[in-house]
């Protein structure tokens, strides 16, 4: 009988990351996944990255995850979002060939000797000394990571048709209740939806606005050549709904499962179906519809912006009312899926369940939406399961240093009434959580894994070189007579540079692009340096002052927030209200910051804890 160190249930984006990171520690890892579904498949939008999410993909990559690598391989259109709005809010997004993405994921995992892929439906899980996972066969493991996505009690809706399943054409898992009586799920089920898929040959692209791929976007994986493309590049197209489209939807209100009471789950407000848009914004009839290719070989496109659970005939009618889509054919109809999510306040910052030790949860089952959010959690759960097995320090990312940290802290502090998606607005430290400095932010965390793979060597070298170039910028003075100053002076009177200044000071000037400026300075001195390094140093210098100011403000709070607390001692103490004790017992905060985030916690309790903790 083989005993796994870690068994991952589910082969989606969270599952792949969990298994991939855990395998790097040379442990015996297994993935149990539904037969018939390839690893790392993309059942919804065919893209990876986005505002805030681009940072997450790069964080995953720098910690040793798979998503950035796979997205580069399968990337067929690259874009930088918020290109004109400053470096701190710029994010990369890649349209992927979803077939190729899964093929790459299968290849990556199958080449790793210490990962076993088991294609069986899980029927039950129990725990004695070891976890016993029963599908067609029995498997034993020291730890189990649940990454079951929308498959917990999944139910699909298209018009009045509703079927059991986690995804179109797929079976579902049983309820969590059957598997674990000790795991609490949220009483509110969640709902998500997906649009119909169109035949790409039946679209009149001449009527749509083209969005070509941007060759200047850096690949996600840090060891990839920055601008090399592994696949042929194609365009996305922009279409728009009109008055007629919205009328069709509005006149079919009683046939919509979302509005006639058939669907009980809560959808995300940031991801409304076209029905939502029609009824919540009656004055608006023009909505963007992005036509995104799903693959080079696949004949479907994904019309982003019109997800729907309306009956098939209505879907066809409203799609064909859109300019450019008049004769388009629907190949797969849109649907909504309702599913159970676990109560994430019962999870610790390592994503381990606080009652059933050795059991981890990651991904959509935790009530998040998005491949990137799922992958980020998968990595945290996988790494922590491995680190715990090896008796190493846990991986807990600070919310001040990473978007993954923001997400995990938000998730474990409170339950939500809608699926959780990352926005940059959720971070207090947006100026610092950038794509360009991801390697610097993640290196200290990765270093604690005590691994020595090519990634680790690259990160170490990168951070050393960063320090050298950063010192160069601080210490190299440009004299007031230098032609460089004239060259970098701006148009206005206030933009005339006449004083001797360091390169770092020069990079702070508002009218200069710090990256091209630093490149020019370096070439002036005849120095050639790697693009990634130049970018990281130049942008860091630009924001230095702001980051310092806001970090000064946050310093005290941060210190407080990071302070580890003993919730059991707090609950056991006398002078805290009953209600607070209940909440603390439920959420089990590990840091002062987490305690503070709990809804309805009283200032008095915080004061009591603070006075004792510090």
């Amino acid at each position: 009988m083989k005993i796994f160190d870690i068994l991952v249930v589910g082969g989606g984006h969270a599952g792949v990351e969990a298994a991939f990171i855990a395998s790097q520690f040379q442990l015996e890892v297994g993935i149990v996944t539904m037969p018939g579904i390839p690893l790392g498949s993309a059942p919804c939008n065919p893209s990876v990255g986005g505002v805030g999410k681009g940072q997450v993909v790069r964080e995953i990559d720098a910690l040793g995850g798979a998503m950035g690598f796979l997205a580069d391989k399968a990337g067929i259109q690259f874009r930088t979002l918020n290109d004109s709005k400053g470096f701190a809010v710029q994010s990369s997004r890649v349209q992927i060939d979803k077939e190729k993405y899964s093929v790459e994921a299968e290849n990556l995992i199958s080449l790793i000797p210490n990962i076993t892929v088991i294609r069986e439906k899980v029927l039950s899980i129990s725990k004695n000394d070891l976890f016993e996972v029963t599908g067609e066969n029995k498997y034993f493991s020291k730890k189990v990571i649940m990454t079951v996505g929308t498959f917990l009690n999944g139910k699909l809706h298209t018009g009045s048709e509703s079927t059991a399943g986690g995804r179109v054409g797929c079976d579902r898992s049983g309820s969590l209740g059957e598997i674990f009586s000790q795991i609490k799920t949220q009483s509110q089920r969640f709902k998500t939806g997906t649009p119909p898929r169109l035949d790409k040959a039946t679209i009149d692209y001449s009527k749509l606005e083209e969005q070509p791929s941007d060759s200047a976007v850096r690949n996600f994986h840090c060891l990839h050549n920055p601008f090399h493309r592994f696949s042929n590049q194609v365009s996305c197209y922009l279409a728009r709904t009109n008055q007629n489209t919205m009328e069709i939807i509005r006149s079919n209100k009683e046939r919509s499962p979302m509005f006639n009471g058939q669907i009980k789950g809560t959808g995300a407000r940031y991801c409304p179906s076209i029905e939502d848009k029609a009824f919540r914004y009656p004055e608006k009839s023009v909505h963007h519809v992005f036509i995104e290719p799903e693959g080079l070989e696949l004949n479907t496109v994904y019309p982003s912006g019109i997800s729907s659970s309306l009956p098939k005939d209505v879907q066809k009618e409203y799609v064909q009312s859109i300019e450019g889509l008049e004769i388009s054919e629907i190949l797969v109809y849109g649907y909504a899926v309702e599913y159970d999510v676990v109560d994430t306040t019962e999870l610790g910052l390592t994503l381990e369940h606080q009652i059933v030790s050795g059991l981890y949860f990651a991904g959509q089952v935790n009530g998040t939406s998005g491949y990137e959010e799922a992958a980020g959690q998968g990595l945290i759960a996988g790494a922590n399961a491995a680190l715990n097995t090896l008796c190493l320090d846990p991986l807990i990312l600070s919310r001040h240093e990473s978007y993954i940290g923001v997400m995990i802290e938000d998730l474990t502090s409170n339950t939500r009434d809608e699926p959780y998606r990352l926005f940059t607005a959720r971070s207090e430290n947006r100026l610092y959580l950038r794509e360009d400095n991801t390697l610097l932010r993640m290196f200290p965390y990765r270093a604690k894994f005590l691994l020595n793979l090519s990634l680790d060597q690259y990160l170490e070298r990168f951070c050393e070189n960063h320090e050298i170039l950063s010192d160069f910028c601080d210490n190299t003075m440009i004299s007031e007579k230098s032609e460089l100053l004239v060259e970098f002076s701006g148009e206005g009177e206030l933009q005339k540079l006449i004083k001797r200044m360091s390169v770092s000071e020069l990079l702070k000037q508002a009218w200069l692009n710090p990256i091209t400026t630093l490149e020019k300075i370096l070439s002036h001195y005849g120095i050639r340096i790697d693009y990634d390094l130049v970018r990281a140093v130049a942008v860091s210098k630009k924001y230095d002052g702001y980051i310092k100011r806001s970090s000064d403000q946050q310093e005290k709070l941060k210190k407080m927030d990071g302070t580890r607390i003993d919730w059991e001692a707090i609950v056991a103490s006398g002078n805290i209200s009953f209600e607070c004790k209940q909440r603390i017992t439920r959420i089990r905060p590990e840091t002062f910051g987490q305690l503070k985030l709990i809804d309805g916690i009283r200032p008095a309790t915080l004061a009591v804890v603070a006075s004792r903790a510090l």
């Binding site: 505002v51 809010v89 409304p272 992005f290 912006g305 607005a425 947006r430 508002a510 806001s550």
Partner: protein, 457 residues
Amino acid sequence: MKFLYSDGPIIACSTGTNTNAAMAVIRISGFKSLHQFKDFFTKDLTGPIEPRKVYYTSLVLQGQFIDDVCLTYFEAPKSYNGENILELSVHGNVLNVERILGLFQSYADCRSAGAGEFTYRALKNKKLDLSQVEGLDLFLNAQSTYALDQGLSLLSGNLHEYYLELYDLFLVHKSSLELSIDFSDDIGEEAAKDYYLKSLQQFTDKFSSLVKRVGPMGPNLIQPEIVLAGLPNSGKSSLFNFLLSEERAIVSSRAGTTRDFLSEYYEIEGVKYKLVDTAGIRDSLDDIEAEGIKRSKSKLHSGFFKILLVNPLEIDDGLHNLLQNNFDLIIFTHNDLPGFEAARERLISIYPYLGSIGAINLLEVSRAWELELKALVNKKYLYSIADKPILLERHKSLILQAGIVLSRYQSLATSESDVAILSHELNTLGSCLSEILGIVSPDQVLNSIFSNFCIGK
């Protein structure tokens, strides 16, 4: 306020325990269930008691009758401070009230409430925000109808509304910035920019009318003071006594008799002023007197209406220093002494303004003059409140501070294309405002975005 208080039921007499009255109201707050008081009333408290309904019953202790009371139960969270509250109307004899308070403290585990503790709990349970608590304080302790109105206004009236509106406008503006970062794909660049500028304009307009109500940091209008100032032995105490028609201050010809300032209420047109007789301002070796003088100087600074008494026959550096303050009225004293007229003329030739601010001689002070004085003070008061000034110092200084940050942000809003930097500056403004308006959290920003804009795929 520090978190000195522990949880658990507290009790207090809400109507004061200083004098006997027909009735008194006793409140108990923060108990878990009415059941714990079941032994104290003839009415069965374990049966159904409808909240907010008055029950007539007898208060008893171990079967012995104590008082006839009216009992009202306010069930959490629908009560003043969000906790369970039991309100008892009892007979208002001080001894009776004290006996009942003692009874609940000894036999029902209630603790005597600290000052402001009911309201503190209301703040804690988010029934009131800090501005409202300040408003309540102002309302309960107001010395003028204007302060009374402003207290009410902060508590639930138009100033409170104004702050809420300002909060909403700030939230909308912050949302518009976040919208352009996280959702520009959904909204479109131009629409996002448009929302941004429009919401900034709306916020600034609203905010500037608040700034107008702050003005420079002026005299204290919550407790306006009429301050009598002058060198030692200039006759301040004589005037003080005359105005109060009593021998309140010890008058003597020895300079330095008044060691500290004395104050009494002095009412003009419904406003209760504090009339302050300051210790004579002079350099003194006497420690107690020196302390009195220090305090007098600060009274001069915060005083609302300042009267200077001058003996023109005694001019020294102390007087020159005093004259650096702005006085509303000058009274010349000792006009019965020889050489007074010449000395007065000489002083006015050095300080011409002394002649122009309603100067009179102390001997001319009469009841008719007192009416003129009252009219003068009242005129200044009406003028001061004409622009509806914000009374609370904390609000004034925060608003002024936020105004400075706002103008810096406004100039950046048109010149800076880096939205992350803009958002950083906006957060600085937000933390200034949060102290009067409340904190704008990321969740509130996202909620505002989702409810106002069509977002998503």
